[in-house]
């Protein structure tokens, strides 16, 4: 067995940062579109739907990659509750990344709207039902704010690791290709394998 890796794989890091941009854009577009009465409304909706579908597909790929490649271990020095919070937040991210697009899709289906995404006609995933539509709409809205709150926490934690704890947790997912002073043999090993 090789030494445990210190970083997420290049594929995992690429997925993480691409999706981070996509999800942030998605949340901004979401709150922006529901609060505009102008022509931009349709433009925003026309980005929101295909981007949501892309996030759903990428999230499924990412979940598969995560199950296959795993994650680097958290530092031994990290307090137990902090480790638990980190793991739970990752679960919450996967749940939200997959559930939010599905809720949006189901919400449109329940309202009997045709679900056309970037010119593609998607099937309805639930039968028309006004009460279900309104519950899904409420859930979509509530979870969007929860998602954004989670992202803020995640951002704060990442910066805390990067600037205060300096324990390598941030570097494990950092967007640059390799750690600048990468001196450890394990890291070289890891790069050679990937």
């Amino acid at each position: 067995m090789n030494a445990p890796r210190h970083r997420f794989t290049a594929l995992q890091r690429t997925l993480h940062w691409a999706m981070a941009l996509g999800i942030l854009a998605m949340l901004f577009i979401g709150v922006g579109m529901v609060s505009t009465f102008g022509p931009r409304y349709l433009t925003l909706v026309s980005i929101h739907k295909p981007l949501g579908l892309a996030i759903l597909l990428l999230a499924l790929v990412r979940l598969g990659v995560r199950l296959r490649d795993g994650a680097p271990p958290l530092p031994r020095a990290m307090p137990g509750p902090m480790k638990l919070a980190a793991r739970l937040s990752h679960v919450a991210f996967y749940v939200l990344m997959i559930a939010m697009p599905l809720i949006g899709w189901a919400m449109l289906s329940a309202a009997d709207y045709p679900v056309v995404v970037a010119g593609w006609h998607l099937p309805a995933i639930v039968a028309p039902d006004p009460t279900l539509h309104s519950r899904l709409w409420d859930a979509h809205r509530f979870l969007a704010f929860a998602f954004f709150a989670l992202i803020l926490l995640h951002l704060a934690a990442a910066l805390f690791h990067a600037l205060v704890r300096r324990d390598g947790v941030y570097e494990a997912m950092a967007p640059y290709p390799a750690e600048a002073p990468a001196s450890s043999a394990a890291l070289a090993n890891q790069r050679a394998r990937s």
Binding site: T36, F37, H133, L159, G168
Partner: protein, 353 residues
């Protein structure tokens, strides 16, 4: 572990402040996007709010055009529309329609005789799985030129101050034309002899890829019979619903879809200005209304006739209203969907006639 030889770990006030600043910056940008720093922003929710009647909105019903009756039928395309749009609905043949006749009133119990503006909403489905949704009104042009003016009009008409409407009319010269129409245009005694206009401009694209900016009308085949406002009042609160149900039960009722192509310089972004009557017009098919059903159990009840649901070959133009209507209809639909229980269906209790 990581062996980067950067500054030592530790929670210096500077670092914590930096983290707080980054998080606050992202949160602030989000709040800005959501409009929390701009209370003056016109939102779809505000527009739907202002449409409410004095006693508040009627739960379970549409927030505007609240009174209506459902129908089903067929759109029989004659093939001529293919010259303008490649949408399957214009290819010769019949396409199923779900629709709604309605009145531009905020309560479902309004007296039919009092409604100056009537509406017709349609959903036409084609075999390729696409849909065309449209919601039209009987006025020949829209009262106002901009979406902000529409909101201001609602605000003024709901204001306690009698001077509010005067001030609005003074600031919006286009509203005078609408006032003149509303005050003088004859009423008819039936949905079946009423013409309905899109008012909004859309872009049609044909198979050759040529665009045409268009508006359309559903023109009744029945000859309009005008009646006085006093006669209308004498007919009972629901005479329009009764009339259309009786007529359709006796024979299908028809409207011709007439598409008007904009001439050079015709205003497409301003539905308060009608285009000259001599523009190219194309009769592209016939709406045949075959069966009328009360709304409570009818197929139009839970449909949102969002005018931006368009098939390939039709798209929105620079007219700002369809986008605004889509945003507001979505809010109205969400609200009434949440109140579904307040508008009971009668079928379950066996009360359906």
């Amino acid at each position: 572990m990581n062996e980067r030889k950067t500054p030592p770990a530790g929670a210096s006030p500077g670092r914590l402040l930096l983290i707080a600043a980054v998080v606050a910056g992202v949160a602030g940008a989000f709040a800005y996007a959501a409009g929390w720093f701009s209370p003056q922003r016109l939102t779809p929710a505000k527009v739907v709010d202002i449409l409410a009647p004095p006693g508040g909105p009627v739960a379970g019903h549409r927030r505007n055009h609240a009174k209506g009756i459902c129908f089903t039928g067929t759109f029989e395309a004659n093939g001529a529309g293919a010259a303008l749009s490649k949408a399957a609905l214009f290819a010769t043949g019949g396409h199923p329609v779900t629709g709604r006749f309605n009145l531009a009133v905020p309560t479902p119990t309004a007296d039919d005789g009092t409604a100056r503006v009537r509406g017709l909403s349609l959903r036409v489905r084609t075999a390729d799985g696409q849909e065309w949704r449209t919601a039209m009104i009987s006025a020949p042009f829209f009262p106002v030129a901009t979406t902000q003016a529409f909101y201001d009009l609602q605000t003024a008409s709901h204001a306690a101050d009698p001077g509010a409407m005067k001030a609005f009319a003074a600031a919006h010269p286009e509203f005078r034309a609408f006032g003149a129409w509303a005050g003088s245009a004859p009423y008819t005694a039936s949905y079946a002899d009423t013409a309905f206009q899109s008012l909004n401009a859309f872009v049609f694209t044909n198979a050759q890829g040529q665009d045409a900016v268009v508006r359309w009308s559903f023109v009744p085949v029945a000859t309009p019979v005008t009646v006085t406002a006093a006669e209308l009042k004498a007919r009972g609160a629901d005479f329009l619903d009764k009339d259309i149900a009786e007529r359709v039960a006796a024979a299908p009722q028809r409207w011709t879809l007439s598409v008007m192509v904009a001439g050079p310089g015709d205003p497409s972004a301003d539905p308060s200005q009608a285009w000259p009557e001599d523009r190219r017009k194309l009769d592209v098919g016939t709406l045949v209304v075959e069966r009328v059903e009360p709304e409570a159990d009818g197929p139009c009840r839970d449909l949102n006739f969002d005018p931006t649901v368009l098939p390939t070959g039709m798209r929105t133009s620079d007219d700002p209203f369809p986008a605004a209507r889509s945003a507001a209809y979505s809010v109205s639909f969400h609200r009434r969907a949440a109140e579904e229980q307040s508008y009971p269906r009668t079928a379950a209790s066996g009360a359906k006639p």
